[in-house]
């Protein structure tokens, strides 16, 4: 396993792999955050999560075309505008979906599963009809695509750092929104006791719609950011959905902290194993470990203690 590497090489391996693991960790958190909010706070399993991400990616694609054609001078910073627009687009679509589809199904969790899965198929075909079946290339400003050499063997990709910073910012924002704002208090109240919340004057429908919208909006931002590292096509959302569910379920569905902890555990172990074993074996072992732990702890790593 360690043969053929010198000590200094092993040192750089661990440094680089640790960093690769951190990037993967940020990617996981960014993917899972939106899903965790919706799943945790509302009990809705949003199978169309990947498609909301891809909506963000397509918005970014449109922005990149728009800016390179009409505003080439501002091309360097278009990415930030694209992320904001992605958030708005995915959030608006999310609220529309909640209003037209999800709110009729709140008491039937299995039906929301089917309905959102159907929605994901509809969205995929919609993207295919609008943007074509082929993947589109999103051109990025040059400053996002380089790397920063630390030593001879260690180089740090700039887009990796970008994703990490973005993840920290968004996670902090979500934390303050849910645990430190009036709206967050309402969300938590509705989660704990819907009827009682309604009785004390909280507009539970509005809270639901906003929660769903924000969850989808964050998915949109994630999709926008992932144009830096992945592909943008009608079905690209499917590439992320399995990992996303893995992170959320493993972390414990109703705990944001659990989502972050599980993203960290899965990403670090996967990236370490990927180095010493082959890529497919690493995936198999990760999944086996997760299944094993879930058998012992079906509620996930962390779970809220609430009276049912």
């Amino acid at each position: 396993m360690f043969d053929g590497y010198t000590m200094s090489e092993l040192g750089s391996i661990f440094a680089m792999q640790g960093f690769a693991g951190l990037i993967l960790f940020s990617v996981f958190v960014l993917m899972a955050l939106g899903l965790a909010i919706i799943f945790g706070q509302m009990g809705v399993i949003n199978m169309a999560h990947g498609e909301f991400m891809i909506l963000g990616a397509y918005v970014t694609y449109l922005c990149s075309n728009l800016f390179s054609t009409y505003l080439p001078g501002l091309f360097d910073i278009y990415f930030f505008i694209a992320m904001v627009l992605s958030f708005i687009a995915a959030g608006a679509l999310g609220m529309l979906v909640e209003w037209s589809l999800i709110r009729h199904l709140y008491k039937r969790p299995l039906d929301t599963l089917l309905a959102t899965w159907g929605l994901s198929l509809i969205l995929q075909q919609l993207y295919r009809s609008i943007f074509g079946a082929r993947e589109v290339g999103v051109s990025l400003p040059d400053w996002l695509m380089g790397s920063y050499p630390l030593t001879e063997t260690i180089e740090v990709p700039i887009n990796g750092i970008f994703v990490m910073v973005l993840t920290v910012l968004i996670t902090t924002a979500v934390y303050f929104l849910i645990f430190r704002s009036g709206w967050g208090r309402q969300v938590r109240a509705v989660t704990q006791n819907r009827i009682m919340s309604g009785a004390v004057g909280i507009n539970t429908e509005r809270v639901d719609r906003l929660t769903f919208g924000i969850g989808c909006g964050i998915a949109g931002i994630a999709g926008s950011a992932f144009t830096m590292i992945g592909s943008t096509g009608p079905t690209a959302g499917q590439l992320y959905i399995v990992d996303t569910f893995l992170v959320v379920v493993f972390g414990g569905a109703q705990s944001l902290f659990g989502t972050i902890a599980s993203a960290f555990a899965i990403s670090q172990s996967q990236s370490a194993m990927e180095f010493f074993l082959s890529g497919s074996m690493a995936k198999v072992l990760t999944l086996l470990t997760v299944v094993g732990i879930l058998m012992l702890r079906p509620q996930g790593l962390f779970s809220l203690k609430i009276r049912r």
Partner: protein, 419 residues
């Protein structure tokens, strides 16, 4: 729609003008037959969908689902070839009509639709399939109901069916020429093999490894990642440490985009050729998704590039763009799909019949001098003799052809000593 004209004519209340029109239509139809090719009874003895002035074939690709990305180009190429053949007067005096079915990226669906095309529609041939999995799924159907499939994709070999003509390259044609070239021209000594985890990349890398070791050179790593994998930082670190001369990459689908973007972001500049990257899985189609600036400098070994300068190809690219739009790109498989209808036409004309068995017997030895890739010939084993070329990716998403084999490469789907 099968209205019996005599019944209609006998029906009371029809005006005489209607009868006159009907009669002239019938007369016109009869006269077309008179000037067209040989009588149907002669060219179609097995009950295929051949009439006096039409012949029906099937197009079976995924236009929905995950494979639609790749298969769309094949459908477009086949429709272009059919249109051009019809403009030239068709086959044996008959216009080609097609029935298009959607495999929906689902292998059982492919089998079901293949059966529908062969049993219900009685098509004279089928242009179709893209992935090996879909081909394997339809193969028993084609063999049971004796159909003819023209399969366009480069693939892993290890197959030879009397009911399939393989218009793409099999693995050895693509791999051996490519590796010989990097060894000879670039002095490569060490290789890192990388692929998506399924049959084509694995079989191809197995052939590559055998060939590399046969040349006395070294494989320093071999890695596979699940289809759809999007995180390649670990393997990129590994490549950086192993310092191979060549990264031999057979990554497919959405993973491709992730791989090349992350390679660039990790500071491995392919234009510097340290290491050099050689792929057999990235056509111009894939580069659209990857972005030319992310793969600039990589080499690809395949039989066709859109930038080929010969006259056939110039005309083909022009016609393709006229039909499907200026911003379209044409990859290796798209060109191979374009050959399908033409090879079938040549075989039918040589056989003088649409009968599957006669077309099969006539197929080996069929030559196309008008192929966009240049000259091709059908081998006894139903694969094509073709040249292999090396292209270097440019930032604009096209390849610059830097090398082509002097001779046609012989297709060898069961390479001895490589299994």
């Amino acid at each position: 729609m099968s209205i019996n004209p005599s019944e209609n004519l006998a029906r009371p209340g029809r005006s005489p003008r209607w009868r006159r029109t009907m009669a002239s239509v019938l007369l016109a139809a009869a006269s077309t037959v008179a000037v067209a090719g040989p009588p149907t009874a002669e060219v179609n003895t097995t009950g295929l969908a051949v009439t006096d002035d039409t012949v029906t074939i099937g197009i079976l690709h995924s236009v929905t689902g995950t494979m639609a990305i790749s298969e769309t180009g094949s459908v477009q190429a086949e429709k272009l070839a059919i249109k051009q053949i019809n403009d030239m007067g068709g086959i044996l005096g008959r216009k080609i009509e097609y029935i298009q079915e959607d495999g929906a990226s689902d292998w059982p669906t492919f089998a079901e639709k293949a059966k529908k095309l062969l049993v219900n529609d009685k098509v004279a041939s089928v242009m179709g399939c893209w992935t090996s999995a879909s081909r394997k799924a339809v193969l028993p159907v084609f063999e049971q109901y004796n159909g003819m499939l023209y399969y366009p994709t480069f693939y892993e070999g290890l197959e030879q069916s009397p009911n399939v003509i393989y218009t793409g390259q099999e693995a050895t044609q693509q791999i051996i020429a490519g590796i010989d070239w990097v060894v000879k021209e670039k002095g490569a000594k060490t290789f890192f093999l990388l692929g998506s985890d399924y049959i084509w990349p694995r079989t191809s890398n197995k052939i590559a490894r055998k060939h590399i070791e046969k040349l006395g050179l070294k494989v320093v790593g071999e890695e596979y990642y699940p289809l759809g994998h999007t995180q390649f930082n670990s393997v990129i670190n590994k490549i950086r440490l192993k310092k191979p001369d060549v990264i031999y990459a057979i990554v497919v689908g959405g993973s491709n985009v992730a791989f090349y973007k992350q390679l660039k972001a990790a500071g491995i500049d392919l234009t510097k050729e340290k290491p050099l990257l050689l792929t057999i899985s990235v056509t111009e189609d894939e580069i659209r998704g990857i972005g030319g600036e992310n793969i600039e400098g990589a080499y690809a070994a395949m039989k066709y590039f859109q930038s080929l300068g010969n006259d056939n190809n110039q005309a083909f690219v022009k016609a393709f763009k006229e039909m499907w739009g200026d911003d379209i790109v044409i990859g290796d498989v798209t060109q191979a799909a374009y050959l399908g209808p033409w090879l079938w036409k040549a075989a039918v004309e040589k056989a003088g019949s649409f009968d599957i068995d006669k077309v099969r017997a006539a197929s080996p030895g069929i030559e196309l001098t008008t192929a966009p890739e240049g000259y091709v010939r059908v081998h006894e084993n139903h694969h094509l003799w073709s040249k292999t070329r090396i292209g270097r990716a440019k930032a604009d998403g096209q390849y610059e052809v830097v090398y082509e084999t002097a001779d046609l490469m012989e297709p060898d789907p069961f390479p001895a000593g490589y299994q």
